[in-house]
């Protein structure tokens, strides 16, 4: 009898999960794949085929943009890691107990403000007549106004800014779990600072690093507003092309194909990253 109750409650708990995953994740994505396999041959006439994918392959613009998006996302991920790691380490290990909470909170506040506002803030700061250029002129460091906006470096800065919190949060929680004694043991046994970092802290933080990198990479590759608003004339981003396919060209079929390609591409990168570091999804991302 107890067994029956258990099974029933398991089924009751499983139902919302299954509805969610099947109806909102799996079916839509299958639908998207299905749609991407429809070729538009005339108004309101479609046939089944790989035309949308062939178009993608034949048009260098598309895959160049995808590669560009991918490589810039990787760059952003690496930068976020390099910038964020010392911060996370400081919060988790060096800050006093009280300032730790405050710093962590400070880290989070930009997280709760939308992309749009963050980009808006950057625009106000960086434009040729913006705060930074003006103040630099006032101070006398530059004589002419300088345009900081509208180039790839700005896009990268903006993206790093947008995503770095997602790097810091998992890192802090992993590093928090590391016993200080481990680092001390590293020194005590004769390790210098870099040795301890390389042989002890980084290996220990690996799950957090990987989790942070995955989330950051995915968010970057999937971001839309930041590259659009901060980007210069050469800054195409793959999500922008998806948007264009859907919105300005009404070409849902090819947009769906692009969507699927983006998903496949980013998944591939993540998979490769996991293989290289010997981690798996369940014990990294899920841990936080």
């Amino acid at each position: 009898m107890q067994g029956d109750v258990k099974r029933l409650s398991l089924i009751l708990l499983f139902a919302p999960f299954a509805l969610w995953i099947v109806l909102l994740i799996i079916l839509p994505h299958l639908g998207m794949v299905y749609l991407s396999l429809r070729e538009k041959v005339a108004p309101r006439v479609y046939e089944f085929g790989f035309g949308n994918y062939i178009d993608f392959i034949q048009e260098p613009i598309y895959w160049n943009t995808l590669l560009r998006t991918g490589s810039m996302s990787i760059l952003v991920t690496v930068l976020a890691l390099l910038i964020g790691f010392p911060i996370a380490y400081y919060i988790a290990k060096i800050a006093g107990r009280r300032s730790r909470g405050a710093l962590f909170l400070l880290c989070l506040i930009p997280l709760w403000v939308s992309d749009l506002i963050r980009a808006f803030g950057w625009i106000l700061l960086l434009r040729e007549t913006g705060v930074i250029s003006t103040s630099l002129q006032k101070v006398g460091l530059i004589s002419e106004p300088v345009e900081f906006l509208y180039n790839d470096a700005t896009v990268i800065v903006g993206l790093v800014y947008t995503v770095i919190l997602f790097m810091i949060v998992p890192l802090v929680s992993t590093l928090d779990g590391m016993d200080d004694a481990m680092v001390e043991a590293g020194y005590n046994l004769g390790g210098s600072g870099p040795t301890v970092l390389r042989r002890i802290i980084i290996p220990y933080a690996m799950p957090g690093i990987v989790a942070g990198c995955i989330v950051v990479f995915m968010l970057t590759a999937g971001s839309y507003l930041t590259p659009i608003l901060l980007g210069g004339k050469n800054s195409s981003w793959f999500t922008e092309q998806i948007y264009d396919q859907f919105i300005t060209r009404f070409n849902w079929e090819s947009g769906a194909a692009f969507g699927f390609l983006l998903l496949a591409f980013t998944s591939l990168v993540v998979w490769a990253g996991l293989r290289l570091t010997g981690q798996n999804l369940a014990n990294t991302v899920a841990k936080n």
């Binding site: 016993d179 001390e184 005590n188 004769g190 390790g191 040795t195 002890i200 290996p203 220990y204």
Partner: protein, 367 residues
């Protein structure tokens, strides 16, 4: 300062203040070469802080530390030849046993070819020759313990620091490791400094014990000295079990004080330095020095000894360490060691008994 070289470690006037907390307060001591030295004290008394200063993880607020006669104040922790076994061991979970032990050697720049030899040697000495390839989580608690020691010993340290390394182990294992640690120290013949709040660990293993309280050393001495001749009332209460009374000295004669306790008893005892007539004192009597006899069997009370009539409240059987709780005349409980054989002569709850102890066994300290 020629004799300093004879000592592996010497601290002089060492202090550490965290804000207004005096975690370690003007501590001086020397540890002779190759000995097993314990620091015993209640939680929060500053033991760990003291050890961390020796290892170099904290800078002293004041005082100096000499290792092998050389001041190490300006040497960073990774350059001091003082190794440390941490409370939770701090073995590196991302490396296997071999790598854990080899870590220090690699840091020291030992040639690659010599490392396996050295690691295997030390593994053999701790009697775990075949665990090199195991992961840390595949080891039992006692094995981890020994690996943590091996990891330090392979570097041939001047001094090995151990911070309550048995705290995380379970009871039976802790008993076994006590003896094992002592044997390991014999074997390596290195100076061990051992921190603990468990008096039996400190007494059993050490050549010398320092009893620490509120950042200061109360007494440093051989285990027997601490137990039998505690210098302060703190040491008397902290080391070994005791019955304890508070009272006032009524008179002192012939090196024996007569004390009236707050509960109304009159106890003869041996006054320690500083005890004067009329002074409030604490009296400590160890249960093993109290003899319990059936009321009928005991002779008449001796005026030069202490005697109390009471009733057995409970018998705490614990093999060779059995004890009875006796409810004395003023209804407090007094502990006395007894032998329980399981035979008919054993005392049972409710039996009337007389408790006797000699004045010399009642230590009396000014409060």
């Amino acid at each position: 300062m020629n004799d300093a070289v004879e000592h592996d470690l010497e601290c002089t006037g060492l202090s550490k203040h965290f804000g207004s907390v005096r975690a370690v307060d003007d501590v001086s001591f020397r540890i002779p070469k190759g000995s097993f030295f314990s620091i015993l004290g209640p939680s929060g008394c500053g033991k760990t802080t003291l050890m961390r200063m020796i290892a170099g993880f904290e800078n002293p607020s004041d005082g100096d530390i000499h290792i092998k006669g050389r001041s190490v104040l300006n040497i960073p922790p990774n350059r001091r030849n003082v190794k440390m076994v941490f409370q939770h061991l701090a073995l590196f979970p991302m490396m296997n046993v071999f790598e854990n032990i080899a870590y220090g050697l690699r840091c020291a720049g030992t040639p690659k070819s010599e490392i396996p030899q050295k690691v295997n040697d030390v593994l053999e000495r701790i009697a775990l020759p075949d665990v090199g390839n195991r992961e840390i989580h595949q080891l039992s608690g006692g094995q981890k313990q020994r690996i943590a020691i091996a990891r330090c010993m392979v570097l041939d340290p001047d001094v090995l620091l151990l911070d309550e390394p048995l705290g995380a182990l379970d009871l039976k294992l802790r008993e076994a490791m006590k003896i094992e640690l002592k044997l390991l120290q014999h074997q390596f013949n290195t100076t061990f400094i051992y921190i603990t709040h468990d008096q039996s660990e400190a007494l059993v293993m050490s050549d010398n014990v320092a009893v620490m309280n509120e950042g200061r050393f109360e007494q440093v001495g051989k285990p027997e000295e601490l137990y039998h001749k505690p210098a302060t009332s703190f040491v008397a209460g902290f080391v070994g079990d005791s019955n304890r009374w508070a009272g006032k000295v009524e008179q002192i004669s012939d090196g024996v004080a007569k004390v009236a306790t707050e509960a109304g008893l009159s106890i003869l005892c041996k006054p320690q330095a500083g005890v004067e007539k009329g002074a409030p004192v604490s009296i400590f009597v160890r249960p093993e020095f109290i003899a319990a006899q059936r009321a009928g069997e005991a002779g008449p009370p001796d005026a030069n000894s202490n005697a109390l009539a009471g009733k057995v409240d409970s018998v705490l059987f614990n093999g060779a360490n059995s004890r009875i709780l006796v409810r004395g005349p003023s209804s407090e409980l007094i502990e006395a060691d007894v032998v329980v054989t399981g035979g008919t002569s054993d005392l049972r709850p409710g039996d009337a008994v007389q408790l006797n102890w000699a004045p010399e066994q009642a230590m009396c300290y000014a409060r």
